[in-house]
Amino acid sequence: MTGAAPGPMARPALDLARGVREGSVSAAEVVERYLGAIGEVDGELHAFVTVLHESARREAAEVDNKVAAGEDPGPLAGVPVAVKDNMCTRGVATTCSSRILDGWCPPYDATVVQRLRAAGAIVIGKTNLDEFAMGSSTENSAFGPTRNPHDPGRVPGGSSGGSAAAVAAGLAPLALGSDTGGSIRQPAALCGVVGMKPTYGTVSRYGLVAFASSLDQIGPLSTTVGESAVVFDVIGGQDPLDSTCLERPVPRSASALDDGVQGLRVGLVTELVDGVDAAVGARVREAAEALAGAGANVEECTIPELRHGLPAYYLLAPAEASSNLSRYDGVRYGLRVDADTAEAMNAATRAAGFGPEVKRRIMLGTYALSAGYYEAYYGQAQKVRTLIIDALATAYQRFDVLLGATTPTTAFALGSKVDDPWAMYLSDVCTVPSNLAGHPAVSIPYGADDSGLPVGVQVLAPALGEPVMFQVAAVVERSAPRLAPPRVRAGTAAS
């Protein structure tokens, strides 16, 4: 396998699935190829926490048996998927990249994992993340950072950094991430892949280890827009196990991809362009011009309320997290540090099991919910959330979609922000509004900055606006400047 040749590794996931369905390639071959790629370069990248050699081979054999028996193996037949390690996989360690879950194997699969398997996909491994999805660089993993395939001295973004790096480096054609404040889109942008956060309530959270329940949403990472649309169609839909799932049907997205943007109204959001690095902003404006050239009505607009999103987010998310993470008390599963009393055992376990960023957010959130401070912090942040929802609603009276940068910068150097939490939090400034509003958004790779580092352009849509969002994203993708292949990728180690 060589990196330059347009071999099977270069084919998008959908071509692979077609090959498996038609019998031109077996799922077993596909899985071996990807397991080989992981073995080859993941020592350097550390995208995976767990690689599922045996179960992936077993699942591949099942797909091949179906094909041989003439049964429908599903739209993602034989396609390996890397799953962020905060989604439960039955009998397979699910770590959240935290020591506190040491030794815990869930007795059940997350709904998204079940749906992927039902569609013929193969879970090839569990990917690294910032502990409990708290972070923007994947440096907050208890198992060490993941590196950016485009520059191993730089971060892949986070918290779904492992999933983004795996797709970018060709270690999996598809991945799942979770996005609470940008954790799919930001690493997708920094690694040069597509990453999509669905409308809140369209994808079941059952089996996603909660960070901030009212903001968390699972979504796909892929090489192309079309593949993310297909994965969204596969994993979306009502689930009786998640009460916050919308009861109305989730709009199918993959079918509208080729409809173009003629006559669509696109708002270029000043706040998501002007505040970012010049190189990034320039790429966003190029994308806007490309959309105009394709027939869209592009207009610049300002939504000043968006600047309040980040502080509101950094109160609400830690508040919910402080409660969600209470259950890691050493009593039932995971790490236990013994002590004389239950209280002391609980304190010692949590002191030893959580990393510094998780502790910081638990403290922030506990404080924000405390008697006497609740209204000033949590209550105020909820009001800001409503303000942002209203401001976006107003914007969507004028526009079908909004356009902006995904991140304020391209990938930064490992270690450069670990001692400055606020600088790290600023990485999420362009992405948190969609989480606060529960709206969908997708990041599409759009060329590179002067150093050759990937830039992401973000398309935002109103709730359940996935079809039009993907429609616009597909046009952005077609106009995107070519991005050089990552320095670290499948095939490069051998060459």
Binding site: L101, Y206, V209, P240, S243, S323, V331, A342, Y374
Partner: protein, 477 residues
Amino acid sequence: MSAPWEPVIGLEVHCELSTATKLFCGCRNAFGEEPNTDVCPVCLGLPGSLPVLNIRAVEYAMRIGLALNCEVRPSLFHRKNYFYPDMPKDYQISQYDAPINVGGWLELPDGSRVRVERAHMEEDTGKTSHIGGGGRIHDADHALVDYNRAGVPLVEIVSAPDIRSSAQARLYASELRGILVATGASDGRMEEGSMRVDANVSLRPAGTFELGTRCEIKNLNSLRSLGRAIDYEVERQAGLLEAGEKVVQQTRHWNEDEGVTVALRSKEEAFDYRYFPEPDLVPVVPDPAWQAEVAASIGPMPAQRRAKLAGLFGSTEPTPARTDQIATVVEHGLDGLVAAAVVAGVEPGLALARTSNEAAADPVGARRLDPGVYVALLRMEQSGKLSATQAKTVLTEMLENGGDPAEIARRRGFEALEADSLATVVADVVAAHPDEWERYRAGDDKLVGFFTGQVMRATSNRANGKAVAAELSRLRA
């Protein structure tokens, strides 16, 4: 209690709903199973699991609210955050400032009315057993937790501080239990912990209105301990106040063995529960149609049922003994037996007596009884075919094993005496006890009991007590 102090009492009653499954998952809601057998990822709070609200539990909560004259409102769940090993998520899903039922009242049999501030839904915790050492929390060797109870649906009913005595508190708890059972929402068993009572007690100078500093008493496992604990606490607080000291706001634990309340924690040590809206659940909005449906599904409450039974005796005020009998019948849900008997022509006093004494002594058996068969027995007694003692014996057997009263009577050889042979036996007994006969003739009616007893002995309980009394009366006339 010292005269100048007026007790002010409010009760918080937790009752477990008798739904088939738990509040947020499909696990069985059962009592007394092997530890940790009725559990799943949701009620164990495993990472990634999510609660799904049991609509039947909402309906039961609405039944309770409607029976307590509450307004049923759109409501929210909140998280109540605190660490405790038997609470799987280390937060409890409860209702905070938007409970489902608000602003009701409960009328007690003595005519007093206690306001109900709210009746909200929440989940129960698991149960911790302290093992080794002295088996108590502070000297135990280790602890074991059973999560079968975790996630069992509860309704917490909070009264206003309208109660003024331990007797009234007991009456409230007892009446509330009757209502819970009548709605079918809970079995109200205090001994199994399916109904648990906490009492808030404070004192104030009689005739004043400002509330004093209160203490909350926990671990009240029976009506008796509720009464005793309140009496103790009132004495304790009165002692403090009279000595010029202050009552400290505390949570106190009732020690049943020693008959005292002991401080658990003070207000300063109270938890900050950091309530916030539960983001994993959506609001519960009981629309008017649903409320009407639930309201129609609940039968008459104990007060109405007692009034109906009292009505069987006409417009005269029932005697205290009869009031007790009525209360017992209603408490055990045996009104149907009495009603069936009266409709079939059985004298109401007899129907009430047998139902409140013999039948209520075996309520499980009584609820199994076929009313037609029960009525047949009472008619045998009323017509004199069976004596009272015989009828009780037959009824006890029917309660235990079922069966037809005539057949049981025949098998036991309970053939009532013919009227002429009864007259002979009575005459013999009178002749054998001339002194007693003289006193009876002189008007001492208590001796009817004596003669009846003698006749019963002579006839191996085959005589009918009423027939004996009638014969004695005839002889005296």
